[in-house]
Structures are given as C-alpha cells and as structure tokens.
Amino acid sequence: MEIPMIYYIVISLVMFFAGVYGFITRKNMLMMLISIELMLNAVDINFAVFNRFLFPEQMEGMIFSIFAIAIAAAETAIAIAIIINIYRHIRNIDADKLDDMKY
C-alpha cells in the first residue's frame, strides 16, 4: 500500500467534476446520463478508498459501493427507457426541446 490515499481521492475528484461539467454543458440527454454515471463512479471510488485506508477491518464502504452500482444500473435502465420513449414521440432527445407534455 505504497500509494497514498490522497492520490486516489484526487483521481475521483477530477472524474466527479468532469461529470459536473458535462451535466451542465450538454443538451443531449444521453450525454447528461453519461455525466451522471461519471459522478456516481467517482463516489464509488471514494467509498472504496475510505474503507480501505481508514477502516480496513470493516467493509461498509465496499458493500455500499456494491449497492450503489446496483442502483445505478436500475436508474440507467429506467432513464434510457424514458429517453427512448421521448425519442419515439418527438424524434429528438435534446433537453431544451422538451417543453410540451402529453396533456
């Protein structure tokens, strides 16, 4: 374990704020979803790193990461279903074109 903990955290910091940038600047909903995945992934790394370096005899962080991955999968599946449904209705998935509802 020669590599200090802060190196891992800096990597996940860069990943998280790349996700923030993408989420703010993109119109395409799939690109926004990709940015969300980046942010979730950065948080998972943080959980695993804190668990490994600060409380290595327990495994709360790792279990939390596993559940976070499962929930991220569920969230992505639902979001993609919604996006495809929107595409079927208005032939476009840009977030700023979504200004009409069904009723």
Binding site: M15, L30, L38, P56, Q58
Partner: protein, 170 residues
C-alpha cells in the same frame, strides 16, 4: 495484491492517466458514441483501481454490471436515437463558460479541503475473503446486510417491469 512496489506504482499511474484523460474527453467530445467509448475506458480503469485496493469482488461487479451491462444499454440507445457520425451540439457559449466555472470552482474548493485536511494514519490490513463478503451480504446480525440486499432485489424487479412498461409500444 502481491506486486512489486515499482510495478504497483506504474500500474497506478497508468490507471490514473487513463481515468483523468478519458473522463475529460468523455464530456468534451462532440460525438456521442465516442463519449460512450471513453466512459467504457473510465469504468474499466476504475475496476483496475478496485483490484489495486484488493477489492476483487467489487472490481468484478464493476466490470460485469457497468462495463458489461450499462455500457451495452448506452450503446444500443445511442444507436437507436442518433445517426452514426452525427455530432451533438452543446449549449451556447454562456452555458459552457458557466459549466467550466462551476466545475473548476467546485474542484478547487474540494481540492483545497482535501489537501489541507490532516488525514488519520492509514492502517494496513489483509483483504477480506469472498466468504466474508457473502456472509455480510446475507446475514442478519450487526454489520450484515440482508435487508438492503432484499430491498435491492425488489427494486431491480420493479425496475425491470417499469422499463418494459415505459418503453413498450402503445
């Protein structure tokens, strides 16, 4: 992981470079299919980080669920909703500047807080076996997680049904 210190450092820096470069490219590239490919590299390198931290089970879950499942979903939905080679447009200059400022300011504040905080001494400990993980996931004592495990299984079932309900043809 039983690696030489030098080999460990080389692998770590390789993974770090791949993660940093690909995560920035994933949010700045105009082609959405390329963004998904860069995301794949980021997710695989994250699995490599988990392997370096001795969390082999977590790394395998990351590869199986993220790189194997979610990425396939992404690629299919990208191909369904955009023509190949089509560029997605970004928001206007004002929004891009705003996003850049928000990201850099947030990163600066977080980096300042992280780098000036005095972290407690890190402890080394041998890796947990897969037996311990299994007992922790389906046990009912303290620090065991049967209830969240079952809740996630119900959530996944609900998610399957909801995805079919939303995306079916009417």
């Amino acid at each position: 992981m039983e690696l030489l210190p030098l080999a460990q450092q080389v692998i770590f820096y390789l993974l770090a470079i791949v993660i940093v470069v690909c995560s920035i490219l994933a949010v700045t590239t105009r082609r959405i299919l390329r963004a998904a490919t860069y995301l794949l590299f980021v997710l695989l390198s994250t699995a490599g980080i988990y392997f370096m931290l001795d969390y082999t089970f977590l790394g395998s879950v990351q590869i199986a669920v993220y790189a194997g499942g979610i990425l396939v979903l992404f690629v299919f939905s990208i191909l369904l909703t955009s023509k190949p080679g089509e560029c997605t447009d970004e928001k206007d200059k004002k929004h891009r500047l705003l996003g850049l400022i928000a990201a850099i300011a947030g990163a600066a504040v977080s980096a300042y807080a992280l780098l000036t905080y005095k972290w407690p001494e890190s402890i080394t400990h041998e890796a947990q076996s897969i037996n311990d993980i299994g007992h922790a996931l389906i046990g009912m004592d303290k620090f065991q997680y049967l209830l969240p495990f079952e809740a996630v299984s119900v959530l996944l079932l609900a998610c399957i049904i909801a995805a079919i309900m939303i995306a079916r043809k009417r």
